[in-house]
Each structure stands twice: as C-alpha cells, then as structure tokens.
C-alpha cells in the first residue's frame, strides 16, 4: 500500500502537485498509527537522552548511553570528549570536590553516590557502577515493593521506577552541592516521570526466558545444565530463568536482595587505587549489607560486574560464587544450609567457563532478537521516515556488534559470528541505500536468523 503511494510520488504528471499532499498524509497517518503508549515511550526517549533539567549539563543518557548498553565502562568512558558532561567534576569548580572521583570514574567506571546522606561529604559516600536498564519490566517488582538501583532502594518518593529520575536529578544533575530545586536543577514534572518510566520499561526484554533452551554448543549447553542444577551451580535459585527473580521451590518471590559478600572481596580494583573508597552497606540507611539481584541475560555485554565494578569479565563474575567471599556470606551460608552436604557453591574452572559460555550465548540470542526486531521496524518505515529507519538500523548494528563481542570473547560459535558479520554488512548498506533499503534489510535479517540457528535449535 505504502509502496503504491510512493510510486505515485515518483511518476505521473500529477505527481508534482500531489507529492507534498501525499507526504503530509503519510506523516499524519504515521502519527495516527502510533499508540498513546508508543508516543509516551518516544517522549520518554527524548527526555532521557536530551533533557538536562536545567542542571549541570548531564542527561540520563550521560551515564546510560544508548550506544553502550545503557551503562558505563572504562573503555567507553575513554572515548568521550574531555568536556563531556560525565566529567563535569573536572571542569565545574562548584563540583570539583565531593561530587565525583574522576580517577575512579575513568579507571573503573565508578560513580559517586551519597546513599547514606548528604552530611560529612568527605567521608560519607559510596562508589558504584552504573546498572544497565535492559529488561527492567522483568526485574523491578517484588512483594515488598519495587526494587530499583544496586541496593533496591534507589528512588525517593514512593520508591518506584517512576520516581527514580527525581532522585537521579538531585544526585547527579546538580550545578552545586547546595542542591536547591529551581536553582541548581529543576525536578522532573509528573508528565516527564510518566514518560521516562514508559521509556525505561520499553528497554530490552519484556519477559523472562523459559529455560532450558535447546542450545547447540556443547559447552554452553553444559553451562545451562549446571546453571539450572540446584545441587551444583544453584544459579537458578536467585536468577530464575537467568532473570532477576528468585525461586526457592515454592514459586517466584520476585526480585530480591541478598548479601552475597561482594564487599568482602579482597583486592578490589578501586581499593587498590589508593583512593578513598568507603564500604558500601547496601539497602537502607544504615544498610543491611544486601544488594539487589540483576538479570543475567544481559550480563555478558554489560560488565564490569557487581555494584562496585569489582570484576571485569563474565567468567570472573561466575567464579566469584565459587570463592570464599561468597561462600562465607549470609547468602552463601543459606545455600549451604539448604544443601544436603552443607556445601554452598563449589565449581571447577571448566564449569565456571561453561556457565559463562551459556550466559554469553543467551546474551547473543537476546541481541539477535532485538536486532531482528529493530530491522523489521525499520522496514515498516516509508520513505518519509528514512531518518527513523536509519536510526533503527544503527541501533540494530550496535546490538549485532554486541552479539559478536560476547561470542568472540568466549571463543564461541565462529560460524554464527560469520553470519553476524554478514548481517552487519547488509545492514550498513541498508542504512546508506536510498532505493534498496528494504531488500538489504531483509538480507540482514536472514543472516541474523542464520546466526541464531547456529546457537539454538529452531522451534
């Protein structure tokens, strides 16, 4: 239908006259097609990446950049310009002290948070990584109420995801440490909070996986078995279906907090730096030592890991649960109490790598799903929405690059990687092409599907 209209635009004596009218109709029709929720998500996206709330220049996207899986790591930080608002503490004299620690930010991707109050700023703060925001729809709810941020208590007001942005603006967007609304920043309006929440919930997975998956690779397949084995890996207890909800046999208890002993890890990178890095007591003030369970499907592409970015690789993150810090923690002891042999988690090197391989593959599968979805969406955009189509293809390219990175990082599925590279080639051409975009996009989708078939049995 749309193509026929486009044909009329190109040919015929009346085309010249009709072109603007038809183009206008296309825009109007397109606007009518967008549902209220889509409009809200689009508004939220606009606010998230562009609105500074009259503060220090940061936006939500400063710490949650779209091109880096909505999180920060030192490699990405190193690509930013010196005047990027992330580094505002380096060039705004009012924020030079007690706002960020530039060295820990640049070296380890750590952000300063005053979770235990805004007095004694020299000593009272914690340094935390930036959690990604993918799959939030599956990872915030708990019977005790919403859990946001690394310790599950990241939002002021009613503690909901919707209220999170208000706290973020006060903590991270302020021009001075006085933090006076209307002077150092403005608070988000009710409408803006609605839009940011809608956008946040639209990111990534909208539902949990249903494990086990019919995986093809021998090592990832074994990794999945260990992951699901409640007497060996025991991962599925707190990360049911590799998500962020816990299930101890009597049904899901939603997203939960645990003290897993991460704070007791020896030789934490930030500590080794010699910079002041106070202990983080987690949930509440004073804290109870617990932290929130993140989803694992997106883990392989969103390191460094844990609330303090203590571990760089997914293999290292899995290995943490085999270590002393975890097994002597309250959570480790509870697992041991539930074990017939009194063992917490005990894994060998090959098993650790197998679980990581499994996590890498499910991450790649999720990226492929998103890539295909984005490419399909781009195909539905007519010539009047070429820029939108190009943006969708660009986002798909980012996802594909992540697929390649997580698979190659584990030496997994080289055939799938080859198809993903082909998909990239077609998608790049599609983004540039004026006349063959649809055909090239279709070819990119085919290559994505071929890659998927390498990873998992087709249903």
């Amino acid at each position: 239908m749309e193509r026929r209209v486009r044909g009329r635009l190109a040919v015929g004596p009346e085309g010249v006259l009709r072109a603007p009218v038809v183009a206008a109709c296309l825009v109007i029709l397109s606007a009518c097609n967008a549902s209220p929720s889509q409009d809200l998500v689009a508004k939220g996206r606009q606010i998230f990446f562009n609105e500074t709330f009259q503060g220090n220049g940061r936006t939500c996207g400063t710490c949650h950049p779209a091109e880096n899986n909505l999180t920060l790591d030192p490699a990405f930080i190193a690509t930013l310009a010196p005047n990027d608002p992330l580094f505002v503490a380096e060039f705004n004299p009012d924020l030079r002290k007690n706002f960020e620690n530039p060295r820990l930010m640049r070296q380890f991707g750590l952000i300063l948070e005053n979770l235990d109050g805004f007095v004694d700023l020299d000593k009272k703060f914690v340094m935390r990584g930036v959690p990604h925001m993918l799959g939030l729809r599956t990872s915030v709810d708990s019977p005790q109420g919403p859990r946001t941020g690394w310790s599950g208590d990241g939002a002021p007001g009613d503690g909901s995801l919707r209220s999170f942005a208000t706290g973020a603006v006060i903590q991270h967007f302020t021009k001075t440490l006085n933090r006076i609304p209307g002077q150092d920043f403005r608070l988000p309006t009710e409408e803006e909070l609605d839009a940011i929440e809608a956008f946040s919930l639209s990111l990534g997975r909208q539902q949990d996986l249903a494990l086990p998956l019919p995986l093809k690779g021998i090592v990832p397949k074994r990794g999945q078995e260990i992951f699901l084995d409640n007497s060996l890996g025991k991962c599925n207890r707190c990360h049911a279906n590799a998500g962020a909800t816990a299930n101890f046999g009597a049904g899901s208890i939603g997203n939960a907090n645990f003290n897993t002993g991460v704070e007791n890890l020896p030789d934490q990178p930030a500590d080794l730096s010699g910079e002041l890095n106070p202990a983080d007591d987690g949930f509440r003030t004073p804290g109870d030592g617990t932290f929130n369970t993140p989803p694992l499907v997106e883990a392989a592409e969103t390191g460094p890991f844990f609330h303090n970015n203590a571990i760089e690789t997914i293999e290292g993150a899995v290995a943490f649960y085999d270590g002393e810090a975890f097994n002597s923690s309250p959570a480790g002891k509870l697992l041991a109490a539930a074990d017939p042999d009194g063992v917490g988690i005990e894994l060998d090197g090959t098993q650790i790598v197998a679980i990581a391989a499994f996590l890498r593959v499910i991450n790649a599968l999720e990226n492929i799903r998103q890539s295909v979805e984005l490419l399909e969406s781009s195909r539905s955009k007519g010539i009047a929405h070429r820029a939108e189509a190009k943006e969708l293809i660009t986002r798909s390219l980012n996802e594909t690059q992540d697929s390649i990175r997580v698979l190659e990082g584990g030496g997994l599925h080289p055939e799938a990687v080859a198809h993903l590279r082909e998909a990239q080639t077609f998608a790049k051409k599609a983004a540039r092409s004026l006349f063959f975009r649809d055909r090239l996009t279709k070819q990119a989708i085919e290559e994505q599907n071929k890659a998927r078939v390498q990873l998992v049995e087709s249903s």
């Binding site: 109050g117 007001g157 006076i180 009597a250 509870l334």
Partner: protein, 133 residues
C-alpha cells in the same frame, strides 16, 4: 531432603522478614514539600503543626481531615525545607518542629497513617525554625 527443606524454609523466612523496600530517602531531603513523586497528594499528610510532645515523641498535625497524632521513632527523618528561600535544605530534629509550621508527613505504613517515615518542615531563611507570625 529435610535439610534442603529446612534451608529453603529459612531462606523463605529471611526474605519474608525483609521489611518493605523503602525509597532512597537521602535525595528525598531536597524535594520540596508537596512534590515527592508518588507520595505527595496521594499518601502523605500535609498540614500545620498543632502541637509537639517531645516526651511521647508525637506530633499533632492539622490536615484536611482534622487533627491527626503522629508518632516519631528513632528512624523518622526530619528535614528542614528551605527551598522557598532558595537555601539548601537541612537535616532537622524534633526541636525544629513548632506549632504553626507547615509540614508534610510520609507514613511508614500508608494504611494506618500512624508512624512517620519522614517529616518535612518549612522553615525560615536562616535555617532556624520559623514560627507562625
């Protein structure tokens, strides 16, 4: 098997005992009275202080539905709202609560509305408690 079930029961109990997830209260201190997202106009009480009883740790607030007595615990946070004076907000104490001052109260239990989780009180420019003229 018994040990497994016992362990699961312990874990279940432990999780069930976790109190309701509270919001990160620390940025809350900078949110002016009446603007707390999801709380103001919904579950909080806004009004003027009628009386303070430091011995009993109670506060009487005159709100839209009459005078309500509120209990303060050692976990109740008190913040001095100086936003109107364009000054930074401060942490306060029971001594900052005086008759006539405008307050907003968030309750620990939104249904019973008895124990205060936090109290914001509007104070004068100096940061000293403003008394009703």
């Amino acid at each position: 098997m018994r040990k497994l079930l016992a362990g699961i029961a312990v874990m279940g109990l432990w999780l069930a005992c976790l109190a309701q997830a509270h919001a990160q209260q620390m940025t809350e201190m900078y949110i002016p009275i009446g603007q707390s997202p999801g709380v103001s106009g919904k579950s909080s009480l806004m009004g003027a202080i009628e009386s303070v009883n430091p011995q009993k740790h109670t506060l009487a607030v005159s709100g839209p539905s009459g005078i309500q007595e509120i209990l303060l615990t050692d976990r109740t946070r008190i913040w001095l709202d100086r936003t109107q004076a364009r000054l930074p907000n401060l942490t306060g104490t029971l001594a900052n609560l005086h008759k006539g001052l405008k307050v907003e109260v968030k309750f620990r239990d939104a249904d019973q509305k008895r124990v205060a989780e936090w109290i914001k009180v509007q104070v004068a420019e100096s940061g000293a408690p403003a008394r009703k003229p």
